[in-house]
Amino acid sequence: MIDVLYFAWVRERIGLPRERIETSAATVADLINQLRAREERYAAAFADLSALRVALDQQLSSFDAPLAGVREVAFFPPMTGG
């Protein structure tokens, strides 16, 4: 089980801010493929990975990073703070 969080338009497109997901995905990319296969709203949110960023346990990471030991995955668009 892994906590998956969504922010900004990713959250709006998927329709929820977080969920717990049963997964055996080895990498972030594998998890994304699993999510895409679920429902159209996930496929839409993850259609263009260049528009997305990912954090693993609150650290910016990359789509090919392994998920072993990770408890929290977050997907969001490029940040616009400041």
Partner: protein, 145 residues
């Protein structure tokens, strides 16, 4: 060092005065304040963030600035939630022995807060709401450092 992520408004004058009062030894203080620009039809700015990661990401950025420019002190305040045009979104303050270090550290903090701290801005307007899109220039700005 002080990092605050908050929904409440902050008192810029009081923060600057308090920061400057506690930086014994510094010769230079630089502050930056970001304000919601009253832009045509904009009625509000909604700022979403990632509680937990926001604080640790900012703390990491501040620690790097302090080490790199030998800062006497540094401060970051960043708001989230609904802000009206003219309200201050955030501020940074840097205190150093010399002015170039204080300036460089403040610019570094701003460049990194802009594209490495997990905040997302949404413009609320009569014509419809729109997420602010990150600019390539924001990422390019990091190459300077």
């Amino acid at each position: 060092m002080k990092v605050s992520v908050q929904s409440a408004a902050f008192d810029l004058g009081a923060e600057v005065a308090a920061f400057t009062a506690r930086i014994a030894g510094a010769g230079a203080v630089v502050t930056f304040t970001g304000i919601v620009r009253p832009d045509g039809e904009l009625t509000a700015m909604e700022i979403e963030h990632y509680p937990g990661m926001t604080e640790s990401a900012i703390a990491g950025i501040v620690a790097e600035a302090v080490a790199r420019w030998s800062l006497v002190d540094a401060l970051v305040i960043h708001r989230h939630g609904r802000l009206l045009p003219g309200e201050a979104i955030m501020m940074v303050a840097t205190a150093a022995l010399h002015r170039s270090d204080a300036f460089l550290a403040a610019e570094f903090l701003m460049d990194y807060l802009k594209s490495r701290a997990p905040f997302w801005k949404k413009e609320i307007a009569a014509r419809g709401d729109a997420w602010v899109v990150a600019k390539d220039a924001d990422d390019d700005a990091l190459k300077r450092w």
